[in-house]
């Protein structure tokens, strides 16, 4: 056991350092990733800071506590002729190691409270999207954008066919061959037919609820997850800094296909998004079928999200 603790922490610290350097280049989960993503929103950066801060505080405490233990294990061995002391009490020491942790914890709680308060503030959002979790797909409805209601833009987002084929028990399709053609990303179980299209640089309010059982909507790069609970509408927000495709998954056990209802957020520049939204609104107005289909989640509406 002697040096096991230190070795483990060193390895973890080195691994983390490597992961940190590599982090900038990656948004989505990648092989050998050992650390949290920094993400692409102001909140996710702050969450990452809290993660790193608390991690290094723990490393520091670990070095001190484990260090003292290891010294004790070497210095006070019976085999080296150590004679046991008789003392078993020290009021000063006990007071010190009660107060110091309180101070350290206060130092962690302070920034955490600040970040939490900011993350909980959904006011002044410029856009609202309603997210509904179903067994086993997500439905997205655009509610308003830049102070104006959005007309009849909503669609379901299901696991992409390529992943669905490869995930069947006894299928001969390898998960390793499920690749996004444009980026080369191995998107097995992290790709959908119709991604959620959002603009960058806009404060988006997400209203999150569940249609049958509890789900949870998580895109690590946005910096949070929020449970999708039937009968309750939860709110959270994100302001995405840069265009890209950000992937996540359902994170509340919701039945047999819990692992097969991914989330893909496609963030595009605002001008491009405006065009996309107008096109979708026009299509909805023209297409009577989609208008009638909108109410029932069982039918899939066309959504031009892939291109």
């Amino acid at each position: 056991m002697k040096s096991g603790g230190i070795r483990r922490w060193t390895t973890a610290a080195l691994g983390l350092a490597t992961a940190l350097c590599a982090n900038a280049a990656w948004a989505n989960p990648h092989a050998w990733q050992m650390s949290l993503t920094k993400g692409v929103t102001p909140s996710s950066h702050e969450v990452y800071f809290l993660f790193a801060l608390s991690f290094w505080v723990c490393v520091g405490i670990g070095i001190v506590v484990y260090g003292i233990m290891i010294i004790a294990m070497f210095r006070f061995r019976k085999s080296r002729g150590a004679v046991p002391a008789k003392w078993h009490h020290n009021a000063t020491l006990e007071t010190v190691w009660t107060i110091i942790p309180v101070l350290i914890l206060a130092g962690l709680a302070w920034p955490a409270s600040t970040v939490l308060t900011k993350m909980a503030n959904t006011s002044d959002s410029q856009m609202t999207i309603k997210v509904t979790g179903y067994q086993w797909l997500w439905r997205y409805d655009y509610i308003d954008y830049m102070g104006k209601p959005v007309h009849k833009v909503g669609f379901e987002s299901r696991l992409a066919k390529s992943s669905n084929r490869a995930r069947q028990l006894g299928s001969h399709y390898s998960p390793w061959n499920v690749v996004d053609k444009q980026t080369g990303y191995h998107d097995y179980l992290l790709n959908v037919d119709h991604p959620l299209v959002v603009p960058v640089g806009v404060k988006i309010r997400f209203l999150i609820t569940g249609g049958d059982v509890i789900h949870s909507w998580w895109v690590p790069d946005l910096g949070w997850k929020m449970d999708a609970i039937p009968g309750i509408i939860n709110a959270a927000w994100a302001k995405i800094d840069k265009p890209g495709i950000y992937r996540g998954q359902c994170t509340e056990l919701c039945g047999k296909d819990h692992s097969a209802m991914p989330i893909v957020v496609k963030a595009i520049p605002r001008a491009q998004f405006n065009q996309w939204l107008t096109a979708r609104e026009n299509a909805a107005t023209l297409n009577k079928i989609s208008r009638t289909a909108k109410a029932s989640p069982g039918k899939v509406q066309p959504a031009g999200g892939q291109g």
Binding site: G4, A31, S35, M73, R77, L116, I214, S216, I229
Partner: protein, 537 residues
């Protein structure tokens, strides 16, 4: 001395003859303790075999062994069996064996209740395991049994709820018995603040059990009426609230977490002084820390539900309360280290497990502090980071403490020394493989892998494979443990002395090894220097 009288008593009233009379009708704290421990070990292997299947499916991406729904059945049953079948009964078994010996009593206060609380457990687990044979399958909604998902499972839900009730009654009766024994059966002079820490830890744990098992029973009963009698406690469509279940469940669930760790703290506080040959540092602080942790455990439940959409004020409160628990827990860790400091240390198997406990439980505590920060928890919640966290505190915490306890007291129980060499092999292989198993799960969680999924993106493949390999080794190594116990009890030649360990203090070591069928039929005369923590001050 009382010894002569005890041995005399033993000859006249030994263990009853005949299997049925000795075991089925047992009212003896040692026999019942043994049955609890055997039961726990059996459940540990059943729950462990489910874990092997889970790690087998997660060995590589894609579905290889089973359908996703069966995977969910396995994760649910693994959790229920390990918590209610392996960890809790092991501590009750240890408490049964040790508390009367430690406080100088002849037996538990309520021996017939003791028999009943044990024999309800096999009944409960037959009910639970029988669900695999039902058309609706075993419960697959997670051990937390959240509605509405769990309500979708068909009639297996009724079996599940019946199981919870029977196991809960068993726990409540066990807790009553332990409280009655500790408060009424102590030898003269065994003041509360002279009791061994293990006894203290169980006294506090028993009160936690009494307080929260009825809460769980209430939660599942509401679920039962929701499913079969048309109520809508947790049904949003009927005006109910699925989140209310989570509040009630975790009001039970968080104290439950401490029910599974406080007796472990007690065990470590017995083992470390023995092998440091030095009294426990800060005995009173240790008792107060236990009480403080137990008290705080009632007001941190919502940290299991930071992502359900609580108001900011509630999240702040539960974050601060949760972080506060680190203070008494830290006191315990510092006191163990201070006990070792200046001692005369030797590293027999129980001490190795105790040291591994301190290091690895603390590691689980570190990830606990990270999880307490609400905004960061938004990222960690329901990922493998959480899985790594609670397996560090429950496997390298509770389970390691139980293993250390078995090695520590087995000579007293059986009258024979276990094989130290085999014990050390068991320890080193376990401690290495368990870290190969759980440490990479931190990385998986941080990289974005949710928990309770049977299949995952290829980015998570490498660490999952490493984790699975560690898991298979860890599982296999436990057979060494069982072999060592069987060998010690039935085949070992080396007789154990009454004291067993040079530095051992406390009343149980004044009894001969193996301990007589009835512990102290005459109250022992207390000698303060024989207390594990030195003279109380």
């Amino acid at each position: 001395m009382a010894h002569a009288a005890i041995i005399d008593e033993h000859e006249h009233h030994g263990a009853p003859k005949g299997f049925v009379r000795r075991w089925l009708m047992s009212t003896n704290h040692k026999d019942i303790g043994t049955m609890y421990l055997i039961f726990s070990c059996t459940m540990f292997f059943i729950g462990g075999s489910f874990a092997m299947l889970i790690r087998g499916e997660l060995f590589e991406p894609g579905m290889q062994l089973m359908q996703p729904y069966f995977f969910n059945e396995l994760t649910t049953m693994h959790g229920l069996i390990m918590i209610f079948g392996a960890i809790m009964p092991a501590f009750v078994g240890l408490g049964n064996w040790l508390i009367p010996m430690m406080v100088g009593a002849s037996d538990m206060a309520l021996p017939r209740l003791n028999n009943w609380s044990f024999w309800l457990l096999p009944v409960a687990f037959i009910v639970l395991l029988s669900t695999f044979l039902l058309p609706s399958g075993a419960p697959a909604g997670g051990w937390t049994m959240y509605p509405p998902l769990t309500l979708q499972m068909g009639d297996t839900v009724a079996f599940l709820i019946f199981f919870v009730h029977i196991a809960g009654i068993s726990s409540i009766m066990g807790a009553i018995n332990i409280i009655a024994t500790i408060l009424n059966c102590r030898a003269p002079g065994m003041d509360l603040l002279k009791m061994p820490i293990f006894v203290w830890s169980w006294l506090i744990t028993a009160f936690l059990l009494l307080a929260v098992m009825p809460v769980l029973a209430g939660a599942v009963t509401m679920m039962l009426t929701d499913k079969y009698f048309g109520t809508s406690f947790f049904n949003a469509a009927g005006g109910g609230d699925p989140v209310m279940y989570q509040h009630i469940f975790w009001f039970f669930g968080h104290p439950e977490v401490y029910i599974m760790i406080l007796p472990a703290f007690g065990i470590i506080s017995e083992i470390v002084p023995t092998f440091s040959r030095k009294p426990l540092f800060g005995y009173k602080a240790m008792v107060y820390a236990l009480a403080c942790i137990a008290f705080l455990s009632f007001m941190v439940w919502a940290h299991h539900m930071f992502t359900v959409g609580l108001p900011v004020g509630a999240e702040l409160f539960f974050m601060y309360a949760t972080m506060l628990i680190a203070v008494p827990t830290g006191v315990k860790v510092f006191n163990w280290v201070a006990t070792m400091w200046g001692g005369s240390l030797s590293f027999e198997t129980p001490m190795l497990f105790a040291i591994a406990f301190i290091i690895l439980f603390t590691l689980g505590g570190f990830s606990g502090i990270m999880l307490a920060l609400v905004p960061a928890d938004f990222q960690y919640q329901d990922t493998y980071f959480v899985v790594a966290h609670f397996h560090y505190v429950l496997v390298t915490g509770s389970a390691f403490a139980i293993m250390g306890a078995v090695y520590y007291w087995l000579p007293k129980w059986s009258g024979h020394m276990y094989n130290e060499r085999m014990g050390k092999w068991h320890f080193w292989l376990s401690v290495i493989s368990v870290n190969v198993l759980y440490f990479p799960q931190h990385f998986l969680g941080l990289a974005g892998m949710p928990r309770r999924i049977p299949d995952y993106n290829v980015a998570f493949a490498d660490f999952n494979m490493i984790s699975s390999i560690g898991g298979f080794v860890f599982g296999a190594v436990q057979l060494v443990f069982v072999y060592n116990i069987i060998h010690c009890v039935f085949f070992a030649k080396e007789k154990a002395t009454a004291r067993v360990w040079e530095g051992a203090r406390g009343l149980e070591w004044t009894l001969p090894s193996p301990a007589p069928h009835h512990s102290f039929t005459l109250p022992p005369v207390l000698d303060d220097s024989q207390l594990a923590h030195g003279e109380a001050d």
